[in-house]
Amino acid sequence: MSAVVEAKGVMKWYGEVLGLNGFTASFNPGITGLVGPNGAGKSTLFKLLIGQLHANGGDLRLLGQDPWNNVELKRKIGYCPESNQLYGWLTGQAFVETLLRLDGMRADDARKTAEESLAFVGLTGAKDRPLRTYSRGMRQRAKLAQALAHAPELLILDEPLSGADPMARVQILRAISDFAKRGGHVIMSTHVLYEVERVTSNIVLIHNGKAIASGDLHAIRALIDEHPHAVRIATSKPRDLAQALTAMEHIVSVEFPAPETLLVRTRKPDAFYRELPEIVVDRNLDVHGLESPDDSLEAVFRYLVG
């Protein structure tokens, strides 16, 4: 199969602000991570791909077609926006079901398919609750459920792990992997390289609206590992968690920037993300959010672009 997304010199301006600056890259079948710091142009590219924005120049093809106002193409894509805003007054079930009805699905089929999709992301128990009562991790999964429900060819996921708790991360990454194993294609953006690494080694690096590198991420891993990776953890017991984490030899520093917040820097992000869920469960700690400030990745990008 040819490239899922083909971009040649794509330009996007917001008034005098440049969103994409001659972005050129190919996204191959399978899972591809679009990695870049905040403001790099990831969301702009995605909005162009879903037809929410129109490019000012260049050529952008999604599954071989121009995405701008392309109604039929939308049957083939599932989109998970970065924003956690949802229709708070709808239940999870009604949310997915309503969007499936917009796909042209019959009411009975939509109800059944929505249930299956919510089960796929581990939200069966919460499907009848209003979305406004969902945690950030649950919202991420609800967004993923609506993106997956109509069995698209391609998933476009904008920061799908942002703010998700450890359990939600595991479920989201598992759902993405399972989707790809069934033959689906995924493009997921993140400013945390290690999140992508769990599901693919195929990445496109974006910085200042340009693709600066693409291919196998192991080629740049050594470079990135020189920079400690920061993780901000929201927990009701920051001191207990800090005590547990400092026992890890790869932890460089631990800070308490705010009440119920812990900022950790590690030289081995892989090990950190792998071991954290176990620590949380073993010590019965309450971790309700994980975020990676992008300063560590920003340092790498500054190095890459000179």
């Binding site: 926006p81 969007l99 917009l102």
Partner: protein
């Protein structure tokens, strides 16, 4: 999409607030009946319904609901969920307007009927005696929902702050334009609504209203205006880009 819009407009806090507001005419006629005001009857009902219901309650309810259709999806960052479905933008826009029409009719028509019923019961005239008054106000309410809704819907597509402009049009322009000389009042929707009322209700507070437009012509003008506004909104929506912040 239409069902989603109806549910949103009727079941959220906004729906409950506008529902309460819509029933103000009933509150008023009930108060007049309980106070046994001697002059209370079908003529006073007409005198109150135009300035209170058509020019305040109805404009407010249509403004709040119609301006929310597109603009709140943009402001709340929920629009991408709709834009990534295999439905064209004009279809989405028209479906939303259709949902608004149903919701606004549900909110605004029953209070007219019940308020009329209370008035007729108090006057002891029976429900059918002044049926032309009921028919006139139901027609005017339905046309106002269609026309004001289309105008405010258009504003919500093209403006970032449609509520402010809508308030100015609805409560300033529509209120003062009637007192301006010449043909200027014809540049307002309320002129055609009052023309409909005058044409349908031969005796009442609008008997003295100066108009050279018949009720059918006025109704046609309002409907054509609404169609133009909705089509323009759909065309603008189709061409729009949506840059939303996370």
């Amino acid at each position: 999409m239409t069902v989603l819009t109806i549910r949103y407009l009727l079941s959220t806090r906004r729906g409950l607030a506008t529902l309460a507001l819509s029933w103000i005419p009933l509150l008023l006629v009930s108060s007049l009946a309980l106070a046994r005001v001697p002059s209370f009857g079908i003529l006073l009902f007409q005198s109150l319904m135009v300035p209170l219901f058509l020019q305040i309650v109805l404009i407010f309810v249509t403004l709040v609901n119609a301006t929310s259709l597109i603009r709140e999806e943009i402001d709340d960052n929920t629009l991408p969920y709709l834009l990534t479905r295999p439905v064209s933008k004009p279809t989405l826009a028209l479906s939303k307007y259709a949902g608004y029409l149903v919701a606004a009719m549900v909110l605004l028509l029953p209070p007219v009927v019940v308020a009329y019923g209370v008035t007729a019961a108090y006057a002891g005239t029976g429900l059918g005696t002044d049926s032309e008054v009921l028919a006139g106000f139901l027609a005017a309410t339905a046309l106002a929902v269609i026309a004001y809704g289309a105008l405010f819907f258009f504003l919500s597509v093209v403006l970032r702050k449609p509520l402010t402009v809508g308030l100015l049009i609805g409560f300033v322009w529509e209120s003062v334009v009637g007192s301006l000389p010449g043909s200027v009042p014809k540049l307002s929707l309320i002129y055609y609504l009052q023309s409909v009322l005058k044409g349908m209700i031969p005796v009442g507070s609008l008997s003295g209203f100066a108009t050279d437009v018949t009720a059918p012509v006025a109704a046609t003008v309002l409907i054509v205006f609404a169609v133009i506004m909705v089509v323009l909104a759909a065309v603008m929506f189709q061409r729009m880009e949506f840059r939303q912040k996370a």
